[in-house]
Protein backbone atom coordinates (compact mmCIF):
# COMPACT_ATOMS: atom_id res chain seq x y z
CA UNK A 1 0.00 0.00 0.00
CA UNK A 2 0.98 3.59 -0.60
CA UNK A 3 -0.28 4.91 2.73
CA UNK A 4 1.94 7.64 4.14
CA UNK A 5 4.80 6.96 1.73
CA UNK A 6 6.18 9.60 -0.61
CA UNK A 7 4.80 8.93 -4.10
CA UNK A 8 7.21 11.31 -5.80
CA UNK A 9 9.37 14.23 -4.78
CA UNK A 10 9.30 17.77 -6.09
CA UNK A 11 12.93 18.84 -6.51
CA UNK A 12 12.27 22.17 -8.17
CA UNK A 13 9.47 24.44 -9.31
CA UNK A 14 8.93 27.47 -11.49
CA UNK A 15 6.29 30.12 -11.99
CA UNK A 16 6.08 32.89 -14.56
CA UNK A 17 4.88 36.30 -13.55
CA UNK A 18 1.08 36.16 -13.39
CA UNK A 19 -0.80 39.03 -14.97
CA UNK A 20 -1.38 40.70 -18.27
CA UNK A 21 1.61 39.60 -20.32
CA UNK A 22 1.14 41.52 -23.54
CA UNK A 23 3.14 40.46 -26.54
CA UNK A 24 3.89 36.97 -25.27
CA UNK A 25 2.64 33.64 -26.50
CA UNK A 26 1.69 30.93 -24.01
CA UNK A 27 4.72 28.88 -25.02
CA UNK A 28 7.01 31.80 -24.15
CA UNK A 29 5.34 32.23 -20.78
CA UNK A 30 5.77 28.53 -20.09
CA UNK A 31 9.46 28.80 -21.01
CA UNK A 32 9.79 31.50 -18.32
CA UNK A 33 8.37 29.14 -15.68
CA UNK A 34 10.61 26.29 -16.86
CA UNK A 35 13.67 28.55 -16.77
CA UNK A 36 13.08 29.28 -13.08
CA UNK A 37 12.63 25.57 -12.31
CA UNK A 38 15.83 24.66 -14.15
CA UNK A 39 17.84 27.47 -12.55
CA UNK A 40 16.71 26.44 -9.08
CA UNK A 41 18.11 22.98 -9.71
CA UNK A 42 21.72 23.31 -10.91
CA UNK A 43 22.38 19.59 -10.49
CA UNK A 44 19.80 18.84 -13.16
CA UNK A 45 20.73 18.81 -16.84
CA UNK A 46 17.25 19.36 -18.30
CA UNK A 47 17.92 18.20 -21.85
CA UNK A 48 19.48 15.00 -20.56
CA UNK A 49 17.62 14.30 -17.31
CA UNK A 50 14.00 15.33 -17.94
CA UNK A 51 12.39 12.35 -19.62
CA UNK A 52 8.86 13.55 -20.33
CA UNK A 53 6.57 16.58 -20.13
CA UNK A 54 2.93 16.56 -19.03
CA UNK A 55 1.24 19.91 -19.29
CA UNK A 56 -2.22 21.22 -18.53
CA UNK A 57 -3.89 23.72 -20.81
CA UNK A 58 -7.59 24.32 -21.10
CA UNK A 59 -8.39 25.87 -24.44
CA UNK A 60 -7.20 26.00 -28.01
CA UNK A 61 -9.48 28.98 -28.60
CA UNK A 62 -7.44 31.58 -26.73
CA UNK A 63 -4.43 31.37 -29.05
CA UNK A 64 -5.94 29.35 -31.88
CA UNK A 65 -3.35 26.75 -31.00
CA UNK A 66 -3.67 23.08 -30.30
CA UNK A 67 -1.00 20.39 -29.99
CA UNK A 68 0.51 22.21 -27.04
CA UNK A 69 2.58 19.32 -25.63
CA UNK A 70 5.37 19.20 -28.20
CA UNK A 71 5.24 22.98 -28.66
CA UNK A 72 6.10 23.47 -25.00
CA UNK A 73 8.75 20.73 -25.13
CA UNK A 74 10.33 22.64 -28.01
CA UNK A 75 10.22 26.04 -26.28
CA UNK A 76 11.77 24.59 -23.12
CA UNK A 77 14.56 22.81 -24.95
CA UNK A 78 13.21 19.35 -24.23
CA UNK A 79 12.77 17.97 -27.76
CA UNK A 80 12.57 15.07 -28.59
CA UNK A 81 11.21 14.00 -25.19
CA UNK A 82 7.61 12.77 -25.15
CA UNK A 83 5.17 15.57 -24.30
CA UNK A 84 1.45 15.57 -23.76
CA UNK A 85 -1.22 18.16 -23.10
CA UNK A 86 -3.99 17.29 -20.66
CA UNK A 87 -7.31 19.08 -20.64
CA UNK A 88 -9.53 18.97 -17.57
CA UNK A 89 -10.75 22.57 -17.67
CA UNK A 90 -9.38 24.55 -14.70
CA UNK A 91 -7.98 21.33 -13.18
CA UNK A 92 -5.82 20.64 -16.23
CA UNK A 93 -2.49 20.95 -14.48
CA UNK A 94 -3.69 19.35 -11.24
CA UNK A 95 -4.45 16.36 -13.43
CA UNK A 96 -1.16 16.73 -15.33
CA UNK A 97 0.60 16.56 -11.95
CA UNK A 98 -1.23 13.35 -11.20
CA UNK A 99 -0.25 11.88 -14.56
CA UNK A 100 3.36 12.84 -13.80
CA UNK A 101 3.06 10.91 -10.54
CA UNK A 102 1.73 7.89 -12.45
CA UNK A 103 4.63 8.13 -14.91
CA UNK A 104 7.26 8.12 -12.16
CA UNK A 105 5.52 5.52 -9.96
CA UNK A 106 5.11 3.20 -12.93
CA UNK A 107 8.86 3.11 -13.41
CA UNK A 108 8.58 4.33 -16.99
CA UNK A 109 10.25 7.64 -16.13
CA UNK A 110 12.57 8.77 -13.32
CA UNK A 111 12.31 12.52 -13.87
CA UNK A 112 9.42 14.40 -15.45
CA UNK A 113 8.36 18.01 -15.87
CA UNK A 114 4.70 18.73 -15.13
CA UNK A 115 3.04 22.07 -15.49
CA UNK A 116 0.40 24.21 -17.09
CA UNK A 117 -0.15 27.37 -19.07
CA UNK A 118 -2.89 29.68 -20.33
CA UNK A 119 -2.75 32.94 -22.29
CA UNK A 120 -6.06 34.72 -21.87
CA UNK A 121 -5.85 38.48 -21.47
CA UNK A 122 -5.56 39.37 -25.17
CA UNK A 123 -9.17 38.23 -25.57
CA UNK A 124 -12.24 40.31 -24.69
CA UNK A 125 -14.16 39.49 -21.50
CA UNK A 126 -17.09 38.28 -23.61
CA UNK A 127 -14.82 35.91 -25.52
CA UNK A 128 -13.20 34.59 -22.35
CA UNK A 129 -16.65 34.14 -20.80
CA UNK A 130 -17.60 32.05 -23.80
CA UNK A 131 -14.38 30.00 -23.83
CA UNK A 132 -14.59 29.27 -20.09
CA UNK A 133 -18.21 28.21 -20.49
CA UNK A 134 -16.98 25.38 -22.71
CA UNK A 135 -16.00 23.60 -19.48
CA UNK A 136 -19.71 23.36 -18.66
CA UNK A 137 -22.53 21.38 -20.25
CA UNK A 138 -23.38 22.70 -23.71
CA UNK A 139 -26.92 21.50 -24.51
CA UNK A 140 -28.56 22.40 -21.18
CA UNK A 141 -26.34 25.02 -19.52
CA UNK A 142 -24.51 27.06 -22.18
CA UNK A 143 -27.46 26.80 -24.55
CA UNK A 144 -29.68 28.52 -22.01
CA UNK A 145 -27.23 31.36 -21.40
CA UNK A 146 -25.72 30.04 -18.17
CA UNK A 147 -22.20 31.37 -17.81
CA UNK A 148 -19.38 30.09 -15.69
CA UNK A 149 -19.87 32.69 -12.94
CA UNK A 150 -23.56 31.83 -13.33
CA UNK A 151 -22.94 28.21 -12.31
CA UNK A 152 -21.06 29.26 -9.17
CA UNK A 153 -23.76 31.85 -8.51
CA UNK A 154 -26.31 29.02 -8.55
CA UNK A 155 -24.21 27.24 -5.91
CA UNK A 156 -23.93 30.48 -3.92
CA UNK A 157 -27.69 31.09 -3.94
CA UNK A 158 -28.27 27.51 -2.77
CA UNK A 159 -25.63 27.89 -0.03
CA UNK A 160 -27.19 31.15 1.16
CA UNK A 161 -30.62 29.54 1.17
CA UNK A 162 -29.59 26.32 2.94
CA UNK A 163 -27.04 27.60 5.46
CA UNK A 164 -27.55 31.33 5.77
CA UNK A 165 -24.12 32.08 4.32
CA UNK A 166 -23.91 35.80 3.60
CA UNK A 167 -22.58 37.88 0.73
CA UNK A 168 -20.33 39.59 3.30
CA UNK A 169 -18.75 36.25 4.24
CA UNK A 170 -18.06 35.55 0.57
CA UNK A 171 -16.53 39.02 0.26
CA UNK A 172 -14.25 38.21 3.22
CA UNK A 173 -12.65 35.46 1.13
CA UNK A 174 -11.73 38.08 -1.45
CA UNK A 175 -10.39 40.49 1.18
CA UNK A 176 -8.25 37.75 2.77
CA UNK A 177 -6.83 36.50 -0.51
CA UNK A 178 -5.99 39.99 -1.73
CA UNK A 179 -4.20 40.64 1.58
CA UNK A 180 -2.05 37.58 0.83
CA UNK A 181 -1.59 38.48 -2.83
CA UNK A 182 -0.07 41.82 -1.85
CA UNK A 183 2.80 39.80 -0.34
CA UNK A 184 3.34 37.77 -3.53
CA UNK A 185 5.51 39.60 -6.07
CA UNK A 186 4.25 37.32 -8.86
CA UNK A 187 0.54 37.86 -8.15
CA UNK A 188 -1.58 39.50 -10.83
CA UNK A 189 -3.40 41.97 -8.60
CA UNK A 190 -1.15 42.99 -5.69
CA UNK A 191 -3.76 45.25 -4.24
CA UNK A 192 -5.68 45.29 -0.96
CA UNK A 193 -9.45 45.37 -1.36
CA UNK A 194 -11.88 46.39 1.35
CA UNK A 195 -15.09 44.62 2.22
CA UNK A 196 -17.00 47.69 1.00
CA UNK A 197 -15.18 47.62 -2.31
CA UNK A 198 -16.07 43.95 -2.89
CA UNK A 199 -19.68 44.47 -1.82
CA UNK A 200 -20.17 47.51 -4.03
CA UNK A 201 -18.47 46.10 -7.13
CA UNK A 202 -20.66 45.52 -10.16
CA UNK A 203 -22.77 42.37 -10.39
CA UNK A 204 -21.46 39.64 -12.70
CA UNK A 205 -23.98 36.91 -11.86
CA UNK A 206 -25.94 37.75 -8.75
CA UNK A 207 -25.02 37.15 -5.90
CA UNK A 208 -21.48 37.16 -7.31
CA UNK A 209 -19.92 40.53 -7.96
CA UNK A 210 -16.75 41.47 -9.80
CA UNK A 211 -14.54 41.02 -6.73
CA UNK A 212 -16.03 37.61 -5.98
CA UNK A 213 -14.54 36.38 -9.25
CA UNK A 214 -10.98 35.26 -9.91
CA UNK A 215 -8.97 37.09 -12.52
CA UNK A 216 -8.49 36.55 -16.23
CA UNK A 217 -4.74 36.08 -16.22
CA UNK A 218 -1.78 34.97 -18.30
CA UNK A 219 0.66 32.63 -16.63
CA UNK A 220 2.47 29.34 -16.45
CA UNK A 221 3.75 27.03 -13.73
CA UNK A 222 5.80 23.85 -13.52
CA UNK A 223 7.35 21.30 -11.17
CA UNK A 224 10.17 18.82 -11.56
CA UNK A 225 9.19 15.44 -10.15
CA UNK A 226 11.43 12.52 -9.44
CA UNK A 227 11.56 9.27 -7.50
CA UNK A 228 11.92 9.95 -3.75
CA UNK A 229 15.14 7.92 -3.60
CA UNK A 230 16.71 10.13 -6.28
CA UNK A 231 15.56 13.44 -4.81
CA UNK A 232 18.66 14.16 -2.72
CA UNK A 233 20.77 14.01 -5.87
CA UNK A 234 19.09 17.24 -6.96
CA UNK A 235 18.26 19.11 -3.78
CA UNK A 236 18.70 19.08 -0.02
CA UNK A 237 15.14 20.31 0.42
CA UNK A 238 12.71 18.19 -1.57
CA UNK A 239 8.97 18.28 -1.01
CA UNK A 240 7.30 14.88 -1.08
CA UNK A 241 3.84 14.31 -2.50
CA UNK A 242 2.27 11.79 -0.13
CA UNK A 243 -1.34 11.75 -1.29
CA UNK A 244 -3.14 12.14 -4.61
CA UNK A 245 -6.87 11.94 -5.25
CA UNK A 246 -9.08 12.64 -8.22
CA UNK A 247 -12.77 12.22 -8.87
CA UNK A 248 -15.43 13.05 -11.47
CA UNK A 249 -19.02 14.23 -11.28
CA UNK A 250 -21.83 15.04 -13.74
CA UNK A 251 -20.84 17.75 -16.23
CA UNK A 252 -24.09 19.63 -15.57
CA UNK A 253 -24.48 21.02 -12.06
CA UNK A 254 -28.23 20.48 -12.37
CA UNK A 255 -27.58 16.74 -12.17
CA UNK A 256 -25.53 16.90 -8.99
CA UNK A 257 -26.94 15.45 -5.80
CA UNK A 258 -26.36 18.75 -3.97
CA UNK A 259 -25.68 22.29 -5.18
CA UNK A 260 -23.98 23.26 -1.92
CA UNK A 261 -21.07 20.83 -2.11
CA UNK A 262 -18.76 19.49 -4.81
CA UNK A 263 -18.80 15.74 -4.51
CA UNK A 264 -15.73 15.29 -6.72
CA UNK A 265 -13.75 17.63 -4.47
CA UNK A 266 -14.91 15.79 -1.38
CA UNK A 267 -14.05 12.35 -2.81
CA UNK A 268 -10.68 13.47 -4.19
CA UNK A 269 -9.88 14.92 -0.77
CA UNK A 270 -10.86 11.74 1.05
CA UNK A 271 -8.70 9.65 -1.29
CA UNK A 272 -5.69 11.95 -0.86
CA UNK A 273 -6.05 12.14 2.95
CA UNK A 274 -6.27 8.36 3.18
CA UNK A 275 -3.25 7.78 0.96
CA UNK A 276 -1.23 10.35 2.91
CA UNK A 277 -2.33 9.09 6.30
CA UNK A 278 -3.22 12.69 7.10
CA UNK A 279 -6.30 14.31 8.61
CA UNK A 280 -7.56 17.84 8.03
CA UNK A 281 -6.31 18.89 11.49
CA UNK A 282 -2.75 17.89 10.49
CA UNK A 283 -2.58 20.47 7.68
CA UNK A 284 -0.41 23.53 8.20
CA UNK A 285 -1.51 25.31 5.01
CA UNK A 286 -3.77 24.75 2.00
CA UNK A 287 -4.14 26.19 -1.46
CA UNK A 288 -7.77 25.75 -2.56
CA UNK A 289 -9.57 26.51 -5.79
CA UNK A 290 -11.11 29.94 -5.16
CA UNK A 291 -12.23 30.61 -8.74
CA UNK A 292 -15.14 32.38 -7.03
CA UNK A 293 -15.36 33.29 -3.36
CA UNK A 294 -18.17 30.79 -2.76
CA UNK A 295 -15.89 28.05 -4.13
CA UNK A 296 -13.40 28.61 -1.30
CA UNK A 297 -16.19 28.40 1.28
CA UNK A 298 -17.41 25.14 -0.25
CA UNK A 299 -13.81 23.86 -0.41
CA UNK A 300 -13.38 24.36 3.37
CA UNK A 301 -16.43 22.20 3.93
CA UNK A 302 -15.60 19.55 1.32
CA UNK A 303 -12.05 19.17 2.63
CA UNK A 304 -13.15 18.83 6.24
CA UNK A 305 -11.65 22.09 7.50
CA UNK A 306 -15.09 22.72 8.99
CA UNK A 307 -18.55 21.16 9.03
CA UNK A 308 -20.93 21.56 6.06
CA UNK A 309 -22.50 25.00 6.18
CA UNK A 310 -19.81 26.47 8.43
CA UNK A 311 -17.44 27.70 5.70
CA UNK A 312 -18.73 31.25 5.92
CA UNK A 313 -18.11 31.38 9.67
CA UNK A 314 -14.63 29.88 9.22
CA UNK A 315 -13.46 32.78 7.06
CA UNK A 316 -15.29 35.31 9.21
CA UNK A 317 -13.50 34.04 12.34
CA UNK A 318 -10.12 34.49 10.65
CA UNK A 319 -9.14 30.82 10.93
CA UNK A 320 -7.89 30.75 7.33
CA UNK A 321 -6.02 34.06 7.39
CA UNK A 322 -2.24 34.16 7.00
CA UNK A 323 -1.83 34.27 10.78
CA UNK A 324 -4.78 31.97 11.45
CA UNK A 325 -4.89 28.36 12.54
CA UNK A 326 -4.79 27.07 8.97
CA UNK A 327 -3.79 29.69 6.42
CA UNK A 328 -5.56 29.10 3.10
CA UNK A 329 -4.35 30.53 -0.20
CA UNK A 330 -1.20 32.17 1.10
CA UNK A 331 -0.29 32.84 -2.56
CA UNK A 332 -3.29 35.13 -2.94
CA UNK A 333 -5.24 32.30 -4.54
CA UNK A 334 -6.90 32.44 -7.91
CA UNK A 335 -8.59 35.57 -6.63
CA UNK A 336 -5.53 37.81 -6.31
CA UNK A 337 -2.62 35.82 -7.75
CA UNK A 338 -4.78 35.16 -10.83
CA UNK A 339 -6.25 32.20 -12.64
CA UNK A 340 -4.60 31.29 -15.94
CA UNK A 341 -6.81 28.24 -15.93
CA UNK A 342 -4.42 25.58 -17.26
CA UNK A 343 -1.59 26.81 -15.03
CA UNK A 344 -3.52 26.90 -11.76
CA UNK A 345 -3.08 23.33 -10.45
CA UNK A 346 0.70 23.33 -10.55
CA UNK A 347 0.80 27.00 -9.50
CA UNK A 348 -0.88 25.89 -6.27
CA UNK A 349 1.81 23.21 -5.90
CA UNK A 350 4.48 25.87 -6.60
CA UNK A 351 3.23 27.93 -3.64
CA UNK A 352 3.30 24.86 -1.42
CA UNK A 353 6.83 24.06 -2.62
CA UNK A 354 7.93 27.56 -1.60
CA UNK A 355 6.18 27.36 1.78
CA UNK A 356 7.51 23.91 2.69
CA UNK A 357 11.06 24.87 1.70
CA UNK A 358 10.96 28.19 3.56
CA UNK A 359 11.14 30.35 0.44
CA UNK A 360 7.79 32.16 0.64
CA UNK A 361 9.41 35.36 1.90
CA UNK A 362 6.96 37.89 3.34
CA UNK A 363 4.09 35.41 3.34
CA UNK A 364 6.06 32.49 4.82
CA UNK A 365 4.10 30.42 7.33
CA UNK A 366 6.72 29.43 9.87
CA UNK A 367 7.13 25.73 10.50
CA UNK A 368 4.83 24.62 7.68
CA UNK A 369 5.39 20.92 7.04
CA UNK A 370 2.13 19.42 5.76
CA UNK A 371 0.06 21.02 3.01
CA UNK A 372 -2.83 20.36 0.66
CA UNK A 373 -3.75 21.61 -2.81
CA UNK A 374 -7.29 21.44 -4.19
CA UNK A 375 -7.82 22.03 -7.90
CA UNK A 376 -11.31 22.01 -9.41
CA UNK A 377 -12.16 21.62 -13.09
CA UNK A 378 -15.08 23.59 -14.47
CA UNK A 379 -18.01 23.70 -12.10
CA UNK A 380 -16.78 20.62 -10.25
CA UNK A 381 -16.95 17.74 -12.73
CA UNK A 382 -13.24 17.21 -12.03
CA UNK A 383 -11.31 17.68 -8.82
CA UNK A 384 -7.72 16.79 -8.02
CA UNK A 385 -6.34 17.00 -4.48
CA UNK A 386 -2.72 16.52 -3.46
CA UNK A 387 -1.06 16.35 -0.06
CA UNK A 388 2.56 17.33 0.50
CA UNK A 389 5.13 16.82 3.22
CA UNK A 390 8.39 18.65 3.80
CA UNK A 391 11.26 16.32 2.83
Amino acid sequence: MLIGKPLVSIVSAGLSKFGRLDGMYGREIFAEAAKEAFERCPNLDPAKDVEALFVGQMGESYEHQGHTGPTLADWTGLLPKPAMRLESACASSGVALRIGIFAVLSGMHDIVLVGGVEKMTHRTTAEVTEFLAMASDFPFEQWHGITFPGLYALMATAHIHKYGTTEEQMAMVAVKNHNNGVLNPKAHMQKVVTLEKVMSSRVIAWPLKLYDCSLITDGASCLILTRPDLAKKFTDTPVHIVGSGQASDAIGIYEREELTTMKAGKLAGQEAYKMAGVEPKDLDIAEVHDCFTIAEIIAYEDLGLCKPGKGGSLVEEGVTMLDGEIPVNTSGGLKSKGHPVGATGTAQAYEIYLQLTGQAERRQVSGAEVALSHNVGGSGATAAVHIYRKG
Binding site: E127, P149, A158
Partner: protein, 132 residues
Protein backbone atom coordinates in the same frame (compact mmCIF):
# COMPACT_ATOMS: atom_id res chain seq x y z
CA UNK B 1 -46.93 2.60 -35.39
CA UNK B 2 -44.24 5.20 -35.82
CA UNK B 3 -40.67 4.37 -34.91
CA UNK B 4 -39.46 5.31 -31.39
CA UNK B 5 -37.09 8.30 -31.55
CA UNK B 6 -33.61 7.45 -30.30
CA UNK B 7 -32.91 8.31 -26.64
CA UNK B 8 -30.73 11.29 -27.46
CA UNK B 9 -30.50 14.96 -26.51
CA UNK B 10 -31.52 15.86 -30.05
CA UNK B 11 -34.73 13.86 -29.67
CA UNK B 12 -35.45 15.72 -26.41
CA UNK B 13 -35.18 19.06 -28.23
CA UNK B 14 -37.23 17.81 -31.20
CA UNK B 15 -40.01 17.08 -28.69
CA UNK B 16 -39.55 20.64 -27.36
CA UNK B 17 -40.33 21.82 -30.90
CA UNK B 18 -43.64 19.97 -30.55
CA UNK B 19 -44.31 21.56 -27.15
CA UNK B 20 -43.61 18.36 -25.23
CA UNK B 21 -41.39 17.84 -22.18
CA UNK B 22 -40.18 14.28 -22.69
CA UNK B 23 -37.72 12.11 -20.78
CA UNK B 24 -36.41 8.57 -21.06
CA UNK B 25 -37.76 6.15 -18.47
CA UNK B 26 -35.70 3.07 -17.74
CA UNK B 27 -37.81 0.00 -18.40
CA UNK B 28 -35.90 -1.98 -15.81
CA UNK B 29 -35.61 0.32 -12.76
CA UNK B 30 -38.10 3.06 -13.75
CA UNK B 31 -35.55 5.88 -13.27
CA UNK B 32 -36.52 8.97 -15.26
CA UNK B 33 -33.52 10.25 -17.20
CA UNK B 34 -33.30 13.83 -18.38
CA UNK B 35 -31.15 14.31 -20.39
CA UNK B 36 -31.82 10.96 -22.01
CA UNK B 37 -28.74 8.75 -22.21
CA UNK B 38 -27.68 5.56 -23.93
CA UNK B 39 -27.37 3.83 -20.56
CA UNK B 40 -29.31 4.11 -17.29
CA UNK B 41 -27.25 5.90 -14.63
CA UNK B 42 -28.82 3.74 -11.90
CA UNK B 43 -28.90 0.18 -13.26
CA UNK B 44 -26.93 0.38 -16.55
CA UNK B 45 -29.91 -0.92 -18.53
CA UNK B 46 -30.18 0.24 -22.14
CA UNK B 47 -33.90 -0.37 -22.39
CA UNK B 48 -35.99 2.82 -22.28
CA UNK B 49 -39.37 4.27 -23.17
CA UNK B 50 -40.31 7.93 -23.71
CA UNK B 51 -42.56 9.49 -21.10
CA UNK B 52 -44.13 12.94 -21.13
CA UNK B 53 -43.40 14.81 -17.90
CA UNK B 54 -45.72 17.09 -16.01
CA UNK B 55 -44.52 20.64 -16.64
CA UNK B 56 -44.59 21.64 -12.97
CA UNK B 57 -41.62 22.10 -10.70
CA UNK B 58 -40.01 24.00 -7.85
CA UNK B 59 -37.05 26.37 -8.07
CA UNK B 60 -33.89 24.97 -6.45
CA UNK B 61 -31.59 27.92 -7.12
CA UNK B 62 -31.24 30.92 -9.39
CA UNK B 63 -28.95 33.72 -10.50
CA UNK B 64 -29.23 36.90 -12.52
CA UNK B 65 -26.64 36.95 -15.29
CA UNK B 66 -25.29 40.44 -15.99
CA UNK B 67 -22.14 39.54 -17.92
CA UNK B 68 -23.17 37.15 -20.67
CA UNK B 69 -21.55 35.38 -23.58
CA UNK B 70 -21.59 37.27 -26.90
CA UNK B 71 -24.75 35.66 -28.26
CA UNK B 72 -26.82 36.52 -25.16
CA UNK B 73 -25.67 40.12 -24.76
CA UNK B 74 -28.89 41.64 -26.08
CA UNK B 75 -30.88 39.82 -23.36
CA UNK B 76 -28.69 40.64 -20.33
CA UNK B 77 -29.44 40.92 -17.49
CA UNK B 78 -31.50 37.73 -17.52
CA UNK B 79 -32.42 35.19 -14.87
CA UNK B 80 -31.59 31.49 -14.99
CA UNK B 81 -32.39 28.79 -12.49
CA UNK B 82 -32.48 25.08 -11.80
CA UNK B 83 -35.94 23.57 -11.40
CA UNK B 84 -36.75 20.28 -9.70
CA UNK B 85 -39.49 18.81 -11.83
CA UNK B 86 -42.35 17.02 -10.14
CA UNK B 87 -41.22 13.82 -11.87
CA UNK B 88 -37.79 14.09 -10.24
CA UNK B 89 -35.21 15.31 -12.75
CA UNK B 90 -33.59 18.72 -12.38
CA UNK B 91 -33.55 21.06 -15.35
CA UNK B 92 -31.66 24.33 -15.84
CA UNK B 93 -33.02 27.17 -17.95
CA UNK B 94 -34.11 30.78 -18.18
CA UNK B 95 -36.82 32.16 -15.94
CA UNK B 96 -39.11 34.61 -17.73
CA UNK B 97 -42.16 36.61 -16.79
CA UNK B 98 -41.16 37.42 -13.21
CA UNK B 99 -39.11 40.26 -11.75
CA UNK B 100 -35.75 39.05 -10.34
CA UNK B 101 -36.63 40.64 -6.97
CA UNK B 102 -39.73 38.47 -6.74
CA UNK B 103 -37.95 35.20 -7.39
CA UNK B 104 -37.57 32.90 -4.38
CA UNK B 105 -35.93 29.53 -3.90
CA UNK B 106 -38.75 26.99 -3.58
CA UNK B 107 -41.26 28.91 -5.72
CA UNK B 108 -43.48 27.02 -8.16
CA UNK B 109 -42.53 27.32 -11.82
CA UNK B 110 -43.86 25.86 -15.01
CA UNK B 111 -41.98 24.72 -18.11
CA UNK B 112 -42.97 26.56 -21.27
CA UNK B 113 -41.61 26.47 -24.80
CA UNK B 114 -40.16 29.04 -27.14
CA UNK B 115 -40.67 27.47 -30.52
CA UNK B 116 -39.94 30.62 -32.47
CA UNK B 117 -36.61 29.19 -33.66
CA UNK B 118 -37.24 26.26 -35.98
CA UNK B 119 -33.76 25.05 -36.70
CA UNK B 120 -31.59 22.00 -36.38
CA UNK B 121 -28.65 21.00 -34.23
CA UNK B 122 -26.95 22.77 -32.64
CA UNK B 123 -29.60 25.48 -32.85
CA UNK B 124 -32.41 23.89 -30.92
CA UNK B 125 -35.62 25.57 -29.83
CA UNK B 126 -35.57 26.46 -26.16
CA UNK B 127 -37.74 25.68 -23.18
CA UNK B 128 -37.93 28.15 -20.30
CA UNK B 129 -39.57 28.53 -16.91
CA UNK B 130 -42.35 30.92 -15.90
CA UNK B 131 -44.69 31.33 -12.95
CA UNK B 132 -47.77 29.06 -13.25
Amino acid sequence: MSETPPFTIESFYKFVTEGKLMAAKCSKCETVLLPPRPVCTKCLSTDFRWVELERKGKLLSYTVIHVSPVQFQSMAPYTVGIVELKAGPHLPGMIRGVEPEKIRVGMDLRVDFDTSIQTQWPLWPRYFFRPP
